[in-house]
Amino acid sequence: MAKNLVKTQGRKERGMALLLALFALLLLSAIGLFMVLSSDTETRIDANYASSLRSYYAARSGLEEIRDRIKYPSSSPGGLADLLPQDIPGNPGGVLYVLNPAGGETVDPTDAGSPYFDDQLCHDYNSGAVAGDAKCTVVPSTPNWMLPAQYSAAAGTPLGYKWIRISMKTNRAVQPNYCVDQSCLTAPLDTRVCWDGQAEQLSPGGANPSCDANGMQTVYMLTSLAASAQSGGPNGSRKLLRFEVVAPSIRPPGALTMGAASAMPVLGSTGIPAIALDGRPHTLDGALATSASCSAIAPLATDSVTGSAQLEQALDLVRKNIVDKANSSCKADGTGQNGNSCTPGLWWVRGTNSATRFITSGSGTSGTSGSGTSDGSSSGSGDGGSSGSDGGHDGDGGHDHHDPTGIADSSACDPANSACYTNLDLSAPELFATSAVTGVNIPAVTVPSDRIAPFTGGLGNQADASIYQPGSSDVVNNGIKAVSNLVSTSIDQPNYYAVSSSALAPSYGTSSDPAVVVITDSTLSLQNNAVLSGYGVLVIPGALEINDATLNWNGIVVVKSSTGHVTINSGAKGSINGVLLVQPGAALNLQNSATSFRLTYSCEAIDLPFGSKPFKIISTAETSY
């Protein structure tokens, strides 16, 4: 009874205090929880924003790292220049990855199960994937589609990208909306995209679709994936950024690249020209490159129909002069006549049959060479000696002649006749033969080991295969503009020289420290056994004349005046190893009597002054993968 009483009394004593306390506690808890949640939401927003920014800049940092490293060859620390893909994605060696795993992490962009799988690649090769944002699930099946992976030079640093993919740009990579030709229809989707100095162009294809074989630069796509550490988690973010980049240098279409000249170019006078233009890649020391990093180009290039016609006419004149000289100087047995000496090269042109191999006029046909030669010794019916053989050289074996002036020459031979002088191949090294013995139809000749010829190199795309005319009509101006930009950024640098032609030092620059030399007066006239040599860029505002003097230049020589000229005269010696760019309108006179002057193409020498410049970024895009 007493116990029950106490219990009853205790209940009554509890009152409202507990309820109130509980209620207050509940309310405060709810408010606290709300604030915590709000705070957490804010924190998450901040974290996501930070993660997104971190991934963006991580991806970008990777692109910048690779953009820097592709300037240098692999012989330099971290260099990638000579490891870049030489074919399009999907083909062997078409993709190069640079990986950047964090400590203990595996980054395999080819593993579909990996969070870092390259789920964009299938849009860059012919995988059958539908263009658009669909994520890829496969990689190319072509053996060796990927070059051996490289690694970030910044390993151990906070650069957070996972991988960079380097590949050539093709039209497929930007289809369906941003094809270079806009329609995506004018060429196969896997056509390479090139840079002409001003805009992207589709490679014209042909025998060598490489951009540098067509006077342009290869456009590379750098694709970077960055993912934050919490990828897939609440604060993870992925960014896929792309650069389209192109090397800062130039790739001219010809060892001598010019616009239409103000007057008919002169490429030689009598006989076999002593001067030689060679579009094959050469090393810095002027030797023929055995493993060049660039393609051979034509010896001559121009950016206009008029220029091509002028060059064709000039080359035909060279051919005619050679044939006239050979036929007038050589007998079938290789002895001289008419008081002229018969050199091995001229005999090779003349041939060993009674009829000359080539004629310069008349309507004779192959095997029945006409008379019209100046010496009159090969008249009458031949025995098929006028074969027009190319002598086994690697040139084009002649061309289809057309009269660039449009003026019919009734005395000219029919170019369809293989005996016509227009079919003489100027890329034949036999023209510079040093000895010869008689042979069937043509003498057997000994040629110099470097097989040089008056006009040799890669195949052009004109009727005369010594000439290349790019699709872009601004190629000369673009090239000159690129060099001018380089010059303007070099002003005030230690290697920049603005100097009068009368105050030239004998030499400028070295292979490791190329110079930029700008002639301050109009004409650079080298004469009286003067010698000028150097590495880098030589800019001549008006005219270049070499008379009884030596010019040895490794790099780029630019003649910038449309009213100027290039005259390489008697006694000129030396070489331009790189490229000679001549402003449209400037006249060209390469006299026959020049003694052993050489113009050889060297991408190595051309790249030299651009060495410290970064790859140019053509475009940047953030893709939604």
Binding site: A2, G15, Y56, V180, A199
Partner: protein
């Protein structure tokens, strides 16, 4: 009535029970309860005000951040795809993004594939000081419209836009936020003076715009209601920097 102490239940308890509540005790209890309850509700009220204020600030922050995010993304894609990506860019101008077209301290007109969908858009981001039909101004509006085959100044005007409301007037004059909505910098980080605005229609304007490599966005927002705690309008300022990619 007198009770006899019960040893088993305890004397004290028995006494308290026996005492009951007096009026005085009741009043004191009510007073204490009122004080406690008042204190609790005072805190709750403060919490509610704080919560309300924080919610408004959170909303401001989110608005500001969304605007900055969007603008940074737009600027990243400005100029993509560029004219140099085409062999003949003039054949279809709608596929060519001009990048920055017009810039001023309070406006950016740009072109780019901002939606990453393969189409070029003309994007107009501008400050609107007042709009009789829109009580939420001063505001910043952003409209995007697909580019057509016309020059950058002849693009259609979109009637649809997103709006960031209750913007504190940007500028450096008295009563303004102290910073322009958009500030521009060259590749060396030096400020680019755009005056009251330049565009690419003139060579001089084009030169100025070409020099711009980075854009800084400064946004200050005010709450649309008074802060129940302070009685004033809460203000949030936020800025972001975007490097141009073209």
């Amino acid at each position: 009535m007198k009770r006899t102490p019960n040893p088993a239940a305890g004397v004290t308890a028995t006494n308290k029970v026996a005492q009951g509540y007096t009026l005085l005790e009741m009043l004191i209890s009510l007073l204490i309860l009122a004080i406690v309850t008042g204190a609790v509700f005072e805190q709750i009220n403060a919490m509610q005000k704080k919560s309300s204020a924080e919610a408004m600030k959170l909303d401001l922050n989110q608005q500001a951040r969304e605007f900055l995010d969007q603008t940074v993304r737009d600027l990243h894609m400005a100029g993509y795809p560029s004219a140099s990506m085409y062999s003949n860019p003039l054949s279809s101008p709608s596929k060519v993004a001009a990048g920055l077209v017009l810039v001023s301290p309070t406006q950016i007109l740009l072109e780019g594939d901002v939606n990453n969908d393969g189409n070029v858009y003309s994007v107009n981001i501008y400050y609107k000081a007042s709009d009789p039909g829109d009580p939420n101004c001063p505001c910043v509006r952003r409209s995007a419209v697909g580019k057509v085959d016309a020059d950058s100044f002849s693009q259609p005007t979109s009637l649809v836009y997103t709006e960031t409301e209750h913007v504190f007037p940007p500028g450096t004059a008295s009563g303004q936020s102290g910073e322009d909505l958009f500030a521009y910098y060259d590749q060396n980080g030096n400020a680019v003076d755009v005056g009251s605005g330049v565009d690419i229609s003139t060579p001089a304007g084009k030169d100025v715009i070409t020099a711009i490599k980075t854009v800084k966005i400064n946004l200050s927002l005010l709450t649309n209601q008074r802060d129940p705690e302070s009685g004033g309008f809460a203000r949030t300022s936020m800025s972001a920097t975007s490097r141009l990619n073209y």
